[in-house]
C-alpha cells in the first residue's frame, strides 16, 4: 500500500508540472475575452438605446480565468483577493507584484508605475497604445487586431498565479495532505479497519481500483497504472467540486481547455509509450481486413489515435463550462427581467432559483460522473495499448 501511495505522490508532482503548462495555454484562452472586445464594440455601435444588462460579458467574466479572485461587488466597491502576478518582458525583465497593484476605472487598469495594462484578463505593456484602442470602443476591429498583436513579438510573458493556477495549487495541497494523513493512518495501525479520514477515502480508492482499473486493465497491469488513474480521478473530482462552491470566486479549473489538455496529453503519452506490438499492429495493419480497405482504415485508425485524447479534453471542458454557463444564465434571467420591473424580477427570481438548485444538484452528479468517465476512458485506452494478443 505504501509504495502505491509513494507513486501517487510522484504522479501528483507530475501534475504540478502542469501549473506552468496551464498558464502557458491560458495565454491562448485569453484570446476569447480579448476578441470579445469586438462584439462589445458592436453593441456600442448600433444599439445605444439598449444600454442595459448584457448577459454574455457577465457570463464570460465568470467562466474565464482571472488575475484575482473576485468575491462580490462591482467596480470600485468590488471585493477582490489579490493574487501574485509574475511577468517577463524584454523591456523590464522579470517583474513580480500583487494584482492589487492594478488601479483604474472601466475596462483597462494600469499599474502605478505605468508599466503594464490589464484589460479583460489580458496583461500588456502600457506603452503599446492598448489604452487608445480599448478605451475607444468605436474602433472595435482595430482593438481586435491590437490585442492580437500583443501575443507575438514585443509582448509580455505572463506566468502569473491566476485564479485557476491558485485553485490547482489549493487542490494539490489538499490532496497531498488528505492522502498523506490517510496513508499514515494505514501505516500506524496495520491490519485494522480504516478510521476517520481513511474511512472516507478508502471507498473512493477501492471504487477506482475495482470498478475502473481492474475491469479494463486486468489485475496485474492495473497496479502499474493506478497511481496515475487515482491522481487524475481525485484531481478532477476535487477541481469540479471546488468550482461548485458558491461565493468564493467561481473557480472553473476543469473547464479550462489548457488544463484538461495537459491531462489528456498525459493520457496520450502513457498510451503511446506503453503501446505493445499488438497495439501498433492493430493501428498500422489491422489483422483480418481486406487489403483494398486498408487505405481507408489505416488513416482512420491513426486519426482516431489522436482524436481520443482530444475528445477526452473537450468532453471534460465542455461539460464543466456548460454547467457553469447554465447556472449563470439563470442568474442573468433574473437581472434581465428585474430591469423591466421589480415585480417581474422577483417573479422570475423564484423560478430561476428553483431551477438553479435543480441544476446545481445535476452539476454535483456531473462533477463525479466526469471524473469517473475521464478515468474510465483513460483506463480503457491504457488497456487497449497493453492488451495481449488473444487470437
Amino acid at each position: 500500500m505504501s509504495t502505491r501511495f509513494n507513486l501517487f505522490f510522484l504522479a501528483t508532482g507530475l501534475l504540478i508540472g502542469q501549473v506552468m503548462w496551464g498558464q502557458h495555454g491560458g495565454q491562448d484562452s485569453h484570446e476569447a475575452p480579448a476578441s470579445h472586445n469586438h462584439e462589445e464594440g458592436h453593441d456600442h455601435l448600433e444599439g445605444d438605446g439598449k444600454s442595459g444588462f448584457d448577459p454574455s460579458p457577465f457570463i464570460i467574466h465568470h467562466v474565464a480565468d482571472a488575475h484575482d479572485i473576485h468575491l462580490w461587488g462591482e467596480g470600485e466597491s468590488a471585493v477582490h483577493i489579490p493574487l501574485p502576478i509574475i511577468l517577463y518582458s524584454q523591456e523590464f525583465g522579470l517583474d513580480v507584484f500583487m494584482s492589487s497593484a492594478f488601479h483604474g476605472h472601466g475596462d483597462v487598469k494600469y499599474t502605478e508605475d505605468g508599466k503594464y495594462a490589464l484589460s479583460h484578463g489580458h496583461i500588456s505593456l502600457a506603452g503599446d497604445g492598448a489604452h487608445d484602442d480599448h478605451a475607444d470602443h468605436g474602433h472595435a476591429d482595430h482593438g481586435h487586431d491590437a490585442s492580437h498583436g500583443h501575443d507575438g513579438g514585443s509582448g509580455v510573458y505572463d506566468f502569473s498565479i491566476t485564479k485557476s493556477v491558485f485553485g490547482m495549487l489549493l487542490i494539490l495541497t489538499l490532496l497531498v495532505v488528505l492522502f498523506g494523513r490517510a496513508a499514515a493512518s494505514y501505516r500506524k495501525n496495520p491490519g485494522q479497519g480504516p478510521k476517520g479520514l481513511a474511512n472516507v477515502l478508502e471507498p473512493l480508492v477501492i471504487f477506482v481500483r475495482d470498478d475502473i482499473a481492474v475491469p479494463s486493465l486486468g489485475e496485474k497491469k492495473a497496479a502499474k497504472f493506478l497511481p496515475f488513474l487515482l491522481t487524475v480521478f481525485f484531481f478532477i473530482l476535487f477541481a469540479n467540486l471546488l468550482g461548485l462552491i458558491p461565493f468564493i470566486g467561481g473557480f472553473n479549473i476543469t473547464g479550462t481547455v489548457s488544463i484538461t489538455m495537459v491531462m489528456a496529453f498525459f493520457v496520450f503519452l502513457l498510451t503511446t509509450l506503453n503501446g505493445n506490438k499488438h497495439y501498433w499492429g492493430h493501428l498500422f495493419w489491422p489483422p483480418g481486413v481486406p487489403v483494398f480497405v486498408m487505405p481507408i482504415i489505416i488513416p482512420i485508425e491513426i486519426i482516431g489515435m489522436f482524436l481520443k485524447p482530444i475528445v477526452l479534453m473537450i468532453r471534460l471542458t465542455a461539460n464543466i463550462t456548460a454547467g457553469h454557463i447554465i447556472i449563470l444564465s439563470f442568474v442573468s434571467l433574473i437581472l434581465i427581467f428585474g430591469e423591466s420591473s421589480a415585480v417581474a424580477g422577483y417573479g422570475v427570481g423564484v423560478f430561476s432559483t428553483a431551477f438553479m438548485i435543480f441544476m446545481y444538484c445535476i452539476e454535483l452528479l456531473v462533477a463525479f460522473l466526469q471524473a469517473f468517465i475521464f478515468t474510465l476512458l483513460a483506463a480503457i485506452y491504457f488497456g487497449e495499448a497493453t492488451h495481449e494478443a488473444h487470437h
Partner: protein
C-alpha cells in the same frame, strides 16, 4: 462592412440553431442508449452493473460528439 456586420449577426443566430440541433442529436442518442440499457437490465437484472458501466461509456461517447457541436456554436457566438 455593413454586409459583414449583418452576416455576423445572422451567424450568431444560426449558432443558436446549431446548438439546438446538436442537442437533438445527443438527446436521441442518449435516449436510445438509456432505453436499451434499461430493457436489457429488466431482462437480466444480474447483469445490471456491467450494463450500467457500458451505458455510461456509450453515453459519454455520444455526448462528446454533441459537445463538439456545442463548443463550435459557442465559439461562433462569441467570436
Amino acid at each position: 462592412m455593413e454586409l459583414l456586420t449583418i452576416l455576423l449577426e445572422i451567424g450568431q443566430g444560426l449558432a443558436g440553431l446549431g446548438a439546438g440541433a446538436a442537442a437533438i442529436g445527443a438527446g436521441l442518442g442518449v435516449g436510445r442508449i438509456g432505453g436499451s440499457a434499461l430493457e436489457a437490465m429488466a431482462r437480466q437484472p444480474e447483469m445490471a452493473g456491467d450494463l450500467r458501466t457500458n451505458m455510461i461509456i456509450a453515453a459519454a461517447l455520444v455526448e462528446g460528439v454533441a459537445l463538439f457541436g456545442a463548443i463550435i456554436c459557442l465559439l461562433v457566438a462569441l467570436g
